[in-house]
Homo-oligomer: 214 residues x 2
Amino acid sequence: MNSNQEVIRRLSRYRNVMRKMKGLGLVKVFSDNLADAVGVSPSLVRKDFSMFNLTGNKRGGYRIDDLVTKLNTLLGKDKKQKIIIIGCGKLGQALMNHNGFPRVGIRVVAGFDSDPAVLNAEAPIPILHVKDIKEFIAENEIRVAALTVPEPAAQGMIDTLRKTCVKGVINFAPLTLKSSDDFLIHNMNIEQEIENLFYNIHFAESNPVENLVA
Amino acid sequence: MNSNQEVIRRLSRYRNVMRKMKGLGLVKVFSDNLADAVGVSPSLVRKDFSMFNLTGNKRGGYRIDDLVTKLNTLLGKDKKQKIIIIGCGKLGQALMNHNGFPRVGIRVVAGFDSDPAVLNAEAPIPILHVKDIKEFIAENEIRVAALTVPEPAAQGMIDTLRKTCVKGVINFAPLTLKSSDDFLIHNMNIEQEIENLFYNIHFAESNPVENLVA
DNA sequence: AATATATTGTGAAACAAGTAACTTTATAAT
DNA sequence: ATTATAAAGTTACTTGTTTCACAATATATT
């Protein structure tokens, strides 16, 4: 029906905001409130909900409890979401210990690396050798991996993962890996985002073509 | 003129691909080649270039050297791009030592934290106390910061940064901070991307509304 | 109980982005 | 020199997304 990524991201954000509201003791919420909190228009909030049959009450707004529950089901948050980290350099290890994950029901079950120096099979979250990755993925039914290997190793690892039951990868290597219908790749290109910021800061107000020609 | 973020990200990608092509000894490139390499359509490549007056030769394609130079100017890559890292936990320290940055002309000039245990003013990239951040930003004319503080501290730090000459922030805290025209925030919400992957893997092929209602 | 009002839900309109197809022109071949 | 052709540059079309505006209706007020 709907393969729009942005809607789903917004649903996550509505959910997160409502969980905080709930923490504050709020019971119901209006499209207006959510719009302010998330930074979108009220009509978009209503449209998004309407697309997924998430209903409220005319004049009464949306019941937070109800909506969070429905969003949890919709987003698959009622199940534990297991991931592995491939590449245990600084960034990989930061992700392994990232305490934002447990809070939203994401569990890092293992790390993988090719450097014997960082391996540690006995750690709470074991760091294993990449040679064993296929077996581990199969045994533990891993569906999502975070890729934090050096750029030159990224494409090769994707080729390996494609032969496993992994179906989605979040890529931190500074190149844009191509997604497909049956194997999703979300690229987190930090360098690109920073370049983008600099571009917008320097040139956004003036005419960029002028800058180039002048 | 144009505030479409995606075009700019694509320009970065064209540039990165062309730099690699240049490394292979290639001299000219066609919209077709770039399209394949970046994963977009050839007409989009031509349109993107055309929007920024980046011209090639009919039948001769684009001269890589020429185009990379023009893209460097356009993207502001002819100047060193200085950033600071706010929050020197695991993720912040990983970014401080991230070797993808120097390769694309981004330089991390300092880290900031409130925990005395991690401070180190003498390190090659000093880690300073956040109380000194405003002064540092002013003296060093910092325009872009990476925010890797815990979620509860994020909004407060944004409020502080708004009073400085920082104009852009890349935010890693798991909440979506709101951008404005004069203060840009790009959110790198890792949790959200992972949730999104799980959603797409589990539900994309079936009808999500069914999943919810059933 | 009747009326007023606030808020949802939705179809139409407006907008933005990307694609496809056409026109132009530089290069290559004859 | 002439002709053919490949690729850029451009215009029009298509598609998808967001906003707008209003009808429907649940709650609150009198």
